[in-house]
């Protein structure tokens, strides 16, 4: 008879849920009782004939926080939701049995607890999961087109997304859809405001977030059924094609050649937002009673799409700075500010992922000089005729010939 996990009046009849560490037996795992009560268990001690485990009762919400790494294991065991946990000694002396006792965290030997800061960090859906098929069904039930955008950054373990990044990506999606809708309407312009009627028809609303990883569920703000076969449908279809073409440079080149400068710039800005978050994206677009259209751009394909987009346009050029100083760096935001001593000019913007690694730890100030490569990218105002330039830092290195102090 196995003693792990136990069948015990205090804990319930437990069955193994997930094993996080196994060494000739589960050593860190979760188990659930028939009534749905969940425990996180960790091996803490043994002797010749027994093994001792701590069983921590956890709510679903607390379990999601622990599993994803938001809550460290030591804190979880020190601060149980119910104020107590269980010491379970699996005793293999015949007849084998579990000896279970309820203890407060204060009664637990300090060295039995996980170390400070130890975390599980397993990808954990903390919102209901949605699939393309489910989205399609929902679109039919609502009688409304639905768009879902799945983001999968490498370092996010819960169904959550940093608001700053989400704002940038959301704007990237809407701007690209607006520009593609303008093209679909046959009224593409490189400059100036997009006509109100097109913006209205292409406007998306945030409906909810779903797992997994993090899915933005969007829908037209326009009344249901009003815009069937609308600009939004056409724009979403074009967006899906662009995403899908990320696997095939030839198709992507062809699609980009058929797009105007505004649409290219907006799609580029969307890809850059993805790249800066180290995320790929999947698009699911569903109309009522129609099979969903899906496309996926994997994380590693974002960079390829961006490079192709930049190389096939005159709207992006590279700038080399030979004597620049770092005025400011915000690693969290991913932004930089440089001063070019040669031209007496200031540059600011987002940093490419490689540049973020290079710039970390470099001293700032006028006495330190660096070589830097920037991208100067044309971007289009939403409200005026203005075309402005955005800068991105591609690389930065210390000048060796001058010798920084």
């Amino acid at each position: 008879m196995t003693l792990i996990p136990p069948h015990d009046p205090l804990l319930g009849a437990l069955s193994m849920d997930e094993v996080y560490f196994d060494h000739e037996g589960p050593r860190l795992f979760s188990a659930t009782s028939r009534s749905g009560r969940r425990f996180l268990a960790v091996a803490v001690d043994e002797d010749e004939s027994s093994e001792t485990y701590l069983y921590l009762p956890v709510s679903d919400a607390r379990f999601g926080e622990i599993r994803s790494g938001a809550l460290d294991l030591r804190t979880a065991f020190r601060e149980p939701e119910d104020g107590s946990l269980f010491v379970v000694v699996a005793d293999y002396e015949q007849p084998s049995r579990n000896r279970v006792s309820v203890v407060s965290p204060d009664e637990v030997a300090e060295d039995w607890l996980p170390l400070e800061g130890s975390r599980l960090q397993a990808s954990t859906a903390t919102r209901p999961v949605i699939t393309a098929e489910a989205l399609s069904l929902e679109a039919s039930q609502r009688g409304r087109a639905m768009l879902a955008v799945e983001l999968d950054p490498a370092d996010i373990y819960r169904t959550e997304y940093p608001l700053r990044s989400l704002a940038r990506i959301s704007r990237g999606i809407q701007d690209a859809v607006d520009a593609l809708a303008q093209e679909a309407a046959g009224r593409a312009t490189a400059r100036g405001a997009i006509p109100e009627s097109i913006l209205q028809e292409a406007e998306l609303a945030f409906v909810e977030s779903r797992a997994a990883s993090f899915v933005l569920v969007l829908a037209p703000t326009s009344p249901p059924r009003l815009f069937e076969a609308s600009l939004l449908v056409d724009a979403s279809a074009r967006m899906t094609e662009l995403i899908e073409a990320g696997h095939d440079p030839e198709s992507l080149s062809r699609l980009l050649a058929g797009s105007g400068p505004r649409a290219r710039a907006k799609y580029r800005a969307f890809l850059e937002a993805l790249q800066d978050d180290d995320s790929g994206a999947s698009f699911w677009f569903a109309e009522p009673n129609t099979p969903p259209r899906t496309a996926t751009l994997r994380r590693e394909e974002v960079r390829g799409s961006l490079e192709l987009l930049r190389s096939t346009t005159t709207e992006v050029r590279e700038i080399e700075l030979s004597r620049a100083s770092i005025i400011a760096v915000h690693l969290r935001r991913g932004t930089f500010e440089l001063f070019d001593h040669a031209l007496g000019r200031r540059y600011a913007g987002y940093m490419e992922p490689d540049a973020r690694l290079e710039i970390a730890g470099l001293p700032t100030g006028d006495q330190y000089f660096y070589r830097a490569t920037l991208l100067a990218e044309e971007q289009y105002s939403e409200t005026t005729d203005e075309v402005f330039t955005e800068h991105r830092l591609r690389s930065i290195s210390e000048r060796t010939e001058t010798g920084n102090p």
Partner: protein, 181 residues
């Protein structure tokens, strides 16, 4: 759940996650079939004088492959760096007097040792569990003639492997990190 069910190997929900597509009842030919007449049954030398439980049919699975390279496992916390783990460290889980594998002769994984391809998985586990901290870490060299091995990562993914030894000689092993507690 039957003995052939892959989920039986390490607990519910893990069989498919490990990508096990070959039915477990297809025993690996290199180790023979214990239930088949005319084939050789493996008995580890360290336990040759004791009652060695037979492996269940289909164990090791046909998907297991000969090992090759350096692996790591937990051994007695009394051992010091540079010491070789003794014979007692190579008792198969099924033959131990305690643990979930004690007497579980029908579980294939209980006839295998846990070995890790990446020592960092053991170091990380030390931050979680005092039981792990109380153990030393040994490195061992496994060659292709030393049995069969199959990756069996946990739910969060790691380099855990089940290793079914083919002869009784303990592998070359040395403690590389002492216990922390």
């Amino acid at each position: 759940m039957s003995a052939d069910d892959p989920d039986r190997i390490r607990g519910p929900g893990l069989g498919s996650a490990r990508g096990v597509s070959t039915p477990r009842h297809l025993a690996h030919p290199a180790l023979g079939c214990e239930t088949c007449v005319g084939q050789v049954r493996y008995i580890p030398k360290t336990m040759a004088n004791s009652a060695t439980p037979h492996r269940p049919p289909g164990c090791p699975p046909a998907t297991a492959a000969p090992p090759d390279g350096t692996f790591f496992r937990l051994v007695s916390g009394k051992l010091r760096v540079g010491e070789a783990p003794g014979d007692g460290e190579w008792v198969l889980p099924v033959s131990k007097p305690k643990g979930e594998c004690a007497g579980a002769t029908d579980r294939c994984d209980c006839h295998a040792h846990s070995v890790f391809a990446d020592v960092d998985d053991l170091r990380r586990a030390r931050t979680w569990s005092q039981w792990v901290r109380s153990k030393a870490i040994a490195s061992l060299q496994l060659r292709s003639d030393m049995g069969l091995i199959e990756a069996s990562p946990s739910d969060i993914g790691d380099s855990h492997n089940d290793w079914w030894p083919i002869n009784g000689d303990p592998p070359e092993a040395l403690v590389v990190e002492e216990a922390q507690a």
